[in-house]
C-alpha cells in the first residue's frame, strides 16, 4: 500500500498540475470538509474504485483554470463535468503507472454532491491535500 500511495500521489500531481494548474500540498490522513465526489471503478488484474473529493472553491478553480470561466459564468454541469474528468484522468494515469503492460476497463465516472459516506477500510489508500485553503482528497479502494 505504501508503494501504491506513492504512485497515486505522482498520478495526482501529474494531472492536477499539468491539466488544471492546481498545486497541492499533502496534509496527512485527516479527512477534510469536501463538497463533492467523483468516483470511477476499474477492473483488470486489480479491481476497485477511486474517489476524488474536492471542496467547492477548488472545483471552481479547476473549472476556471481549464475553461477560463469566471465563477458567475460556470454552471453546475461545468463543475460536475470537470471533477468527473479529474477522476477519470487520475485513475487512468495511476493504473498506467502501476503497470504499463496491464489493460484495465474503466467505468464512466459518477458524481455525488455531497460525497457518499463510504467507510475506508484497511485495503484502502487515502491521500489528502490542501491548495490555498481549499481541500482535495483521493481514496483508492481495492475489492479483490
Amino acid at each position: 500500500m505504501k508503494e501504491m500511495k506513492k504512485i497515486m500521489m505522482a498520478a495526482i500531481f501529474d494531472v492536477v498540475e499539468q491539466m488544471f494548474y492546481v498545486f497541492l500540498e499533502p496534509v496527512g490522513d485527516e479527512y477534510s470538509d469536501y463538497a463533492m465526489e467523483a468516483a470511477i471503478q476499474f477492473k483488470g488484474d486489480l479491481k476497485g474504485e477511486m474517489s476524488i473529493l474536492v471542496s467547492d472553491g477548488l472545483a471552481e478553480s479547476m473549472v476556471h483554470n481549464l475553461l477560463g470561466l469566471e465563477k458567475g459564468q460556470m454552471t453546475k454541469e461545468d463543475i460536475e463535468d470537470c471533477v468527473k474528468e479529474v477522476a477519470n484522468m487520475i485513475c487512468g494515469n495511476f493504473l498506467g503507472r502501476l503497470d504499463q503492460t496491464r489493460v484495465f476497463d474503466l467505468s464512466m465516472p459518477s458524481f455525488s454532491q455531497p460525497p457518499r459516506k463510504v467507510v475506508a477500510g484497511s485495503d484502502s489508500c487515502r491521500l489528502y491535500f490542501d491548495s490555498d485553503g481549499e481541500s482535495f482528497g483521493a481514496v483508492l479502494r481495492l475489492t479483490n
Binding site: M19, L66, G92, L106
Partner: protein, 143 residues
C-alpha cells in the same frame, strides 16, 4: 490550409480544451463538430465532411474503439485520420488502437504543445488528401 475537425468526448470540458488548443495553434479550422460518443460521431460523419477526428476511448453508448472499427469498415470514412486521446494509456491498449488504424495516440493529461505537434504531423501527412477533398467538396454543402 483549412480543415474540418470532429472532437468526440463525453466530457464537455475536454472538448472545449481541445477546440481551444486547435484554435490558438494557428490552424485554420472551418468547422468544428462535437460529439459525446461514437454513435453521435458516426451520425455527424454521415452528413458532414470531416478531415480529422480527435476521439476519447471511454464513452457511453459507443466507445472510441467501436467507433474506430466502424470508421475503418466504411470505405467512405476509412481515410479520415483518427487521433485517440485517452487516459487509458497502457502499451497494450495503445498498440491495439494503432493496429486498428488510428494515426496517433495522445495520453491524458496532455499539454497543448503535444496536441499541436501531433495534429501538425497528422494533418501534414494528410495534406494532399485534405486539399483534394476540399476541391471536390467546393460545390457541396456542409452539415
Amino acid at each position: 490550409m483549412s480543415f474540418n475537425v470532429l472532437i468526440v468526448d463525453d466530457s464537455k470540458s475536454v472538448r472545449s480544451v481541445i477546440k481551444k488548443i486547435i484554435t490558438i495553434s494557428g490552424f485554420r479550422m472551418d468547422q468544428c463538430y462535437e460529439a459525446v460518443n461514437g454513435k453521435q460521431a458516426l451520425e455527424i460523419l454521415s452528413k458532414a465532411r470531416v478531415d480529422v477526428i480527435l476521439s476519447d476511448l471511454n464513452m457511453p453508448e459507443m466507445n472510441g474503439l467501436e467507433m474506430l472499427a466502424a470508421i475503418k469498415a466504411d470505405s467512405r470514412l476509412q481515410g479520415i485520420p483518427v487521433i485517440i486521446i485517452s487516459t487509458e494509456g497502457s502499451d497494450e491498449k495503445r498498440k491495439a488502437v494503432l493496429e486498428m488504424g488510428a494515426k496517433q495516440f495522445i495520453k491524458k493529461p496532455f499539454s497543448p504543445e503535444h496536441v499541436r505537434k501531433v495534429l501538425y504531423e497528422v494533418i501534414g501527412m494528410e495534406d494532399e488528401e485534405i486539399h483534394e477533398r476540399n476541391e471536390k467538396d467546393n460545390d457541396g454543402s456542409d452539415f
